[in-house]
Each structure stands twice: as structure tokens, then as C-alpha cells.
């Protein structure tokens, strides 16, 4: 297993942004040390490595920090261009399309995610955020159908690529939200392509052990996060 000098990830096990980085490292066959951060008591290493945003994930490569999950992913893809599959397409236009959808996911799905869990003050606000998530997932269903004609297993085609890992990072939380709202966000009846994609993604080697699959554990952790948030 390549490591190319020491690799360390500072993360939080449920963070969609951390999960996607870990999946990419797995795809590339890269060994790394993982350090779980307590968001209520951030380590000196985290604060020193990411003084501007003070967030996870942080990738430390030979001690040098790289911050922001999509920046980290592109860094890994470029440094280890020879190892494992490409995480971004090689063609410039296809790269632009992949970046577009990755940005869309974090913009629309990401903001709905914070709205569904952390920013809603009542059930009405949560429902509004759920509606926004539904709309975003409908659009992504269309995008998945378009980019492969509904024929390929992943957004990236035959293999997992940028858009897959960016969206895939949210799956652990989606299962928890499904429990809270009493129905599936990614519903085979409404978004059949995404539902099939989810099964394939969760089953992928690179995702196993990294995408949380214990809903009770995730829901318990949600309470911890909410408590940290309210103590700010």
C-alpha cells in the first residue's frame, strides 16, 4: 500500500466532508493515520493546521496541511495520479461537468442537510429543508440518468469518481434523517436510479467501514453535535 510519506486525516466519523476524503484515499490504495476530533474541544493540531476555518477534514501530507474536502480530493488525485483510478475525469470538459455537479451537491444537498438537522427550530422548518433536499435529489436523479444514459453504475461511469464520493458522504446522515422523518429521502419509487446507485456505492470496497451504517449511533451522535452547537 502506497503512502508516499506520512498521511494523516483529522476528521469526525459522521462528517460527509471527511468521509468523502477517506473514500478517495481508499480508492487510491493509500494508507493513512486517522485521528478523530472532538468538535467541542478541537485539538491544537487541527486549529494550527486549519486556522482560517478550524474545520475537518484536514489532510496532513508530510506534516503539511491541505484543507477543504474538494481541494483535498483534487490534491490526492494529482499527487497520486499514477495510483488507482482517476477521481476526476481527464478530459477538461468532463472535469468541468464533474466539478459542476460536485458543487451542486454541496450547495443544494449540503444546505438542505444542515437545514434538516442543525438549523431547523421546529418541524415546519425541517419539512421545508426536506422539500429542498427532495428537489435537489430529483435534479441529481436526472443528472445521473443523463451522464450515463442510465446505463452506468456511477456518476463517474464504470467507477466511483468525484460526484459519487461527494454525494456518497451524506448517505450515513440520510439513513438517520429517514428515521426522523419516517420515509426515505432516496426512495426507489421517486428516484430509482439514485436508489440503485446508493446500494452499489455502500457496497463498494472503498466505502465500507467509512460510510456509517448504524443509524442509532448516528442519531446519538447528532445529540452530541447539537449540544456542542448550543454551547457555542
Amino acid at each position: 500500500m502506497a503512502g508516499g510519506g506520512d498521511l494523516k486525516v483529522l476528521g469526525v466519523w459522521t462528517s460527509p466532508f471527511v468521509i468523502r476524503v477517506r473514500i478517495v484515499l481508499n480508492l487510491k490504495g493509500l494508507a493513512y493515520e486517522y485521528a478523530e476530533e472532538d468538535l467541542g474541544n478541537k485539538s491544537a493540531l487541527l486549529l494550527g493546521s486549519n486556522p482560517v476555518n478550524k474545520t475537518v477534514p484536514v489532510l496532513l501530507h508530510g506534516g503539511r496541511p491541505v484543507n477543504e474536502s474538494q481541494v483535498i480530493i483534487q490534491y490526492i488525485d494529482e499527487v497520486w495520479a499514477g495510483s488507482g483510478p482517476a477521481v476526476l475525469p481527464r478530459d477538461p470538459y468532463e472535469r468541468a461537468v464533474a466539478r459542476f455537479w460536485a458543487a451542486y451537491v454541496d450547495d443544494k444537498v449540503g444546505s438542505a442537510w444542515t437545514g434538516m438537522l442543525f438549523r431547523c427550530r421546529n418541524e415546519e422548518e425541517r419539512a421545508a429543508a426536506v422539500a429542498r433536499a427532495d428537489e435537489a435529489l430529483r435534479t441529481l436523479e436526472g443528472a445521473l440518468g443523463e451522464c450515463s444514459g442510465g446505463e452506468k453504475p456511477f456518476f463517474g461511469g464504470d467507477g466511483i469518481e468525484l460526484v459519487d464520493v461527494v454525494l456518497g458522504g451524506y448517505l450515513g446522515w440520510f439513513a438517520a434523517i429517514d428515521r426522523i422523518i419516517g420515509r426515505k429521502l432516496i426512495d426507489p419509487a421517486r428516484t430509482p436510479l439514485l436508489a440503485a446507485w446508493e446500494q452499489r456505492f455502500r457496497a463498494a470496497d472503498a466505502a465500507r467501514g467509512v460510510v456509517p451504517d448504524d443509524v442509532d449511533k448516528v442519531l446519538a451522535f447528532l445529540q452530541t453535535l447539537l449540544a456542542i452547537g448550543s454551547n457555542k
Binding site: R64, P92, R99, F100
Partner: protein, 223 residues
């Protein structure tokens, strides 16, 4: 097919700092293109077809194929025309990561905070003012004593931020502060950027931006 015209077209709005990033990148690369001013109050079929998801400018059309989102467009320009100097992103992956980080920082923080600064009043405006100073000081510190965010060469992070230098006057007047005083290195950098032909020919004048914001405020019923 969005449009079948050969070559480069840019769907844009004259004052948009996001559109200006693309214009600067195209100018830096010496790439000819057709500029198509859009009326956002009455969106063209071409715009709606080219960016059905967001219906926003800027959109770059290359042989009819649309690329959307300003920073994605700038990277596309850099990657699709590798023979055209200068490279906007450096060769070294770590330096590229730094450039992308700062471009992302500008994208996430500056425009929204600036909008709150001129839109809001009272305590909310004071909060926006505080945040704006924090953002500008952070950028000032990140720049340090370097000529550009990219170091010696004008690059991706510089392209991402340069159009907003035309908005400094608007931020200053609404926030009652001076960029020169609070962030002298950033102010000097802004001047250096303004000396580049690509930037000088692209940016709206600060007074025109201030006037534009005045029109928006009237439209929103803000004093």
C-alpha cells in the same frame, strides 16, 4: 445542444464580479470570445438552455457546450487551453491546493458578506461589517509580503478576488472603514492587479459599482 456556434461565447452581466473572473482569465490567455450581455430580468432562451439548473451567469460556451460556475469556468479555460500562457494554476499540487483553498474562501465568504453589508441596517449591518473586516484581514495576512496570492505570478486565487477590488469602495462607504488603512498589503495588491491589462479592461469602476448598488437598494426599498 445548447448552441452550435464555434469558438467561445460568454453569457454575462457587465457588473458581475463572477463574470469578470472569466473575462480576466480569457484576456490573460489571449483567447478571443464573443461577449453576450444578458438581461437577467428577461432571461434569454440561450441562457436558460445553457444553465437550466441555476439559470445564472456567467456561462461559457465552447463550441456550443456550456460550462457553468465562474471558478469552474476559469479552471476549464486553464485546462482546455494548456498551450496558452500563462498557466493560471501552478504546476505543483501543493501550490495548486493553496490557490484553490483561497479561491474557495473568497467564493464562500466575500460576496454574501458584502451583500449583507449594504442591504442590512443596525446590529445586523454592524455584524456584517465585523465579518467583512475579518475576511479582508484574513486575505491580507494570507497574501503577506507576496506580490500575488500565487507568489510571483498572477494566478487562480488572484483571478478569483480581483473583480471584488471594484467593490471595495462600496464596502468602505457602507462599513465606514478604509481598506488601505485596515489591510494595506491587500490594498497594494489591488493596485498591482489593476495595472494588469486583463484586469484594467474588465473591471467596472468603483463608482459605477457603487451606483449599481444604489439602484439595487432603491429596488429593494432600502435607504
Amino acid at each position: 445542444m445548447a448552441g452550435e456556434k464555434k469558438g467561445l461565447q460568454l453569457l454575462d452581466l457587465w457588473v458581475s464580479p463572477f463574470g469578470q473572473r472569466c473575462r480576466i482569465a480569457l484576456a490573460e490567455k489571449g483567447l478571443p470570445y464573443e461577449y453576450l450581455e444578458q438581461d437577467l430580468g428577461n432571461k434569454s432562451e440561450l441562457l436558460l438552455r445553457s444553465n437550466p439548473v441555476h439559470k445564472k451567469i456567467p456561462v461559457l460556451l465552447h463550441d456550443g457546450r456550456p460550462v457553468c460556475e465562474s471558478l469552474i469556468i476559469v479552471q476549464y479555460i486553464d485546462e482546455a487551453f494548456p498551450g496558452n500562457a500563462p498557466a493560471l494554476l501552478p504546476a505543483d499540487p501543493y501550490a495548486r491546493a493553496q490557490a484553490r483553498f483561497w479561491a474557495d474562501y473568497v467564493d464562500k465568504k466575500l460576496y454574501d458578506c458584502g451583500t449583507r453589508l449594504w442591504k442590512l441596517k443596525g446590529e445586523a449591518q454592524q455584524q456584517a461589517r465585523k465579518e467583512m473586516l475579518d475576511i479582508l484581514r484574513t486575505l491580507d495576512a494570507a497574501l503577506g509580503d507576496a506580490k500575488f496570492f500565487g507568489g510571483e505570478a498572477f494566478g487562480f486565487a488572484d483571478v478569483a478576488l480581483a473583480p471584488f477590488t471594484a467593490w471595495f469602495l462600496t464596502y468602505e462607504r457602507h462599513g465606514e472603514f478604509s481598506v488601505e488603512k485596515e489591510c494595506p498589503r491587500l490594498a497594494a495588491w489591488a493596485k498591482r492587479c489593476g495595472e494588469r491589462e486583463s484586469v484594467a479592461k474588465t473591471l467596472s469602476s468603483p463608482e459605477k459599482v457603487y451606483e449599481f448598488v444604489g439602484v439595487l437598494k432603491k429596488r429593494f426599498g432600502i435607504e
